[in-house]
């Protein structure tokens, strides 16, 4: 978005008063400094303080916490896992979401509206409910899909899904998918359908059209969506009460108590 092209003389039409842009952004800037940068700075500061079970937070300057993060392989693994999951989620979202947006865009008005509704509707439905849905489908022996597949004899043991990385990636991709479809679809909206026709008249097949004509034009949309995807939101899985508060180290290795769906 940063490449907002100058629209010839018109852009300069607003050259009167060089202070205007600052006056217009000042309220937002003040808001962000006041309630985003300061809190974040305070948090960074906090990372240099000491903490004890009984003494609480001590305002001293130490590097203990940073040292711990840098040396304890647990954290390295955690960062790596987060990164990995984010990448996989993004990939999965792009690979499935972009074609779907393309298909959606080629539907006729009524169906388009309907499926747009179906795909975007989940945006408004709490992650809690959606995650519960995954648990109902795949949770242990009682998960619907597992039960179905086992009764059909396709699988012997339930598909491991809950509390696995695969499960997390799928659930996260499910959360991010509407954004991807939306971004790509919005980018497609701005395409001139005549361009596709022109490419076809020049002898391009459907694959070539998508690869050479459509993709280059919608990539910005994909990238836009990706920046929202990479913010990896932990999908809350039902588990013991500990996870809400910033977990202390002692709890972290507690076995992931499987909450059965009974």
């Amino acid at each position: 978005m940063s490449a907002v092209a100058d629209t010839a003389p018109q852009a300069a039409a607003k050259e009167r008063g060089a202070r205007a842009p600052w006056a217009m952004t000042a309220p937002a800037l003040m808001l962000f400094v006041g309630v985003l940068l300061i809190p974040l700075a305070m948090t960074v500061l906090l990372s240099f303080h000491d903490w004890g079970q009984y003494k609480g937070i001590e305002p001293v300057f130490i590097l203990k916490n940073w040292h711990e993060i840098a040396t304890d392989p647990y954290y390295a693994e955690m960062f790596w896992r987060t990164f990995r999951i984010a990448i996989l989620t993004t990939l999965l979202t792009a690979v499935l979401g972009a074609p779907e947006a393309y298909i959606l865009n080629r539907m006729s008005g009524r169906w388009k509206s309907f499926f747009l509704l179906v795909i975007l509707g989940p945006l408004l439905i709490s992650v809690v409910a959606r995650t519960l849905g995954w648990a109902l489908l795949f949770g242990g022996n009682n998960g619907l899909v597992n039960k179905l597949l086992m009764s059909l004899g396709v699988i012997r043991a339930p598909i491991p899904f809950m509390f696995t990385e695969t499960g997390m990636v799928v659930a996260l991709a499910h959360v991010m998918m509407p954004f991807m479809v939306l971004s790509v679809w919005a980018a497609l909206q701005r395409l001139d359908p005549q361009i596709e026709n022109a490419a076809m008249s020049l002898g391009a097949g459907p694959v070539t059209i998508v690869r050479r004509i459509v993709m280059p034009q919608i990539m910005p949309g994909c990238c836009r969506a990706r920046s929202s995807c990479s913010r990896c939101r932990p999908a809350p899985l039902p588990r013991p009460r500990s996870s809400a508060a910033a977990g202390s180290r002692s709890r972290r290795r507690s076995p992931m108590t499987s909450s059965s769906t009974r």
């Binding site: 978005m1 940063s2 629209t7 018109q10 852009a11 039409a13 607003k14 205007a20 842009p21 217009m24 952004t25 937002a28 800037l29 808001l31 962000f32 309630v35 985003l36 300061i38 974040l40 305070m42 499935l96 074609p99 298909i103 080629r106 388009k112 509206s113 747009l116 509704l117 179906v118 509707g121 989940p122 408004l124 439905i125 709490s126 992650v127 809690v128 409910a129 959606r130 519960l132 849905g133 995954w134 109902l136 489908l137 619907l144 499910h174 998918m177 939306l182 919005a186 990479s230 913010r231 939101r233 932990p234 039902p238 013991p240 009460r241 809400a244 910033a246 909450s259 769906t261 009974r262």
Partner: protein
Amino acid sequence: MRRNGPLALIFHTIFVTVMVAPILVVCLVAFTPEGHLSLPTNGFSLRWFRTIANYPEFVHAFWVSLGLGALSSFVALLFAVPAALAIARYRFRGRDALAALFLSPLMIPHVVLGIAFLRFFTSVGLSGSLAALIIAHVIIVFPFALRLTLAAATGMDLSVEMAAVSLGANGWTLFRRVTLPLILPGVISGWALAFIQSFDDLTMTVFLAAPGTETLPVRMFLYIQDNIDPLVTSVSACVIAITMTALILLDRFYGLDRVLAGKGDTGR
């Protein structure tokens, strides 16, 4: 326009099924007559919908979520619209840095934001207040409000504004009579996406919500930590029903595609 081929339709069917499955299963389980989570295999029952009445905090949380989403998105737009106009039209030093700052809440994990806000609002004595919740939500929805407004402002034909100026419009009149109507589709879309973000946020809100200011996702989250019973599914089903009704109404009267793509013409 060309049709989708059979392969595309198969893909589409699977895609939609997977998207809908977890939600559908929640809705189905909501009708179970049993006391535990299971599909309603022997008859439908509204038992768990009636149970909601015994938990007024769910209803209260729904209203909190609704109000919080509407208000924080509106406040975010009050700040985002002038900022978007400035970024779209002027080239000034620090412009890219400002844009990056304004979009940064997208990049910061919400857990980090939650911790930062919790500590900040505690130290200024606002912790647990509705005000703190609103301010925090304004920040997290700001990028969505800004982005869509920016898209509209960037695409706007400036000569329309110049024409208005040459006719004597200026300052607030110019904004209210010409600029705002022209970017309104983007502003509305920005509001809608911001609202969705706010309405659904759990990760950050869980740090800031106190009894009385719990949003629906927080309330549900806290509930399922203690009890896993079909109540959450019936609450979810209600929210889904309300959401779908709202979306369908929106589509009927305004056009979902117009809201979501931030385009269209207000002069209908």
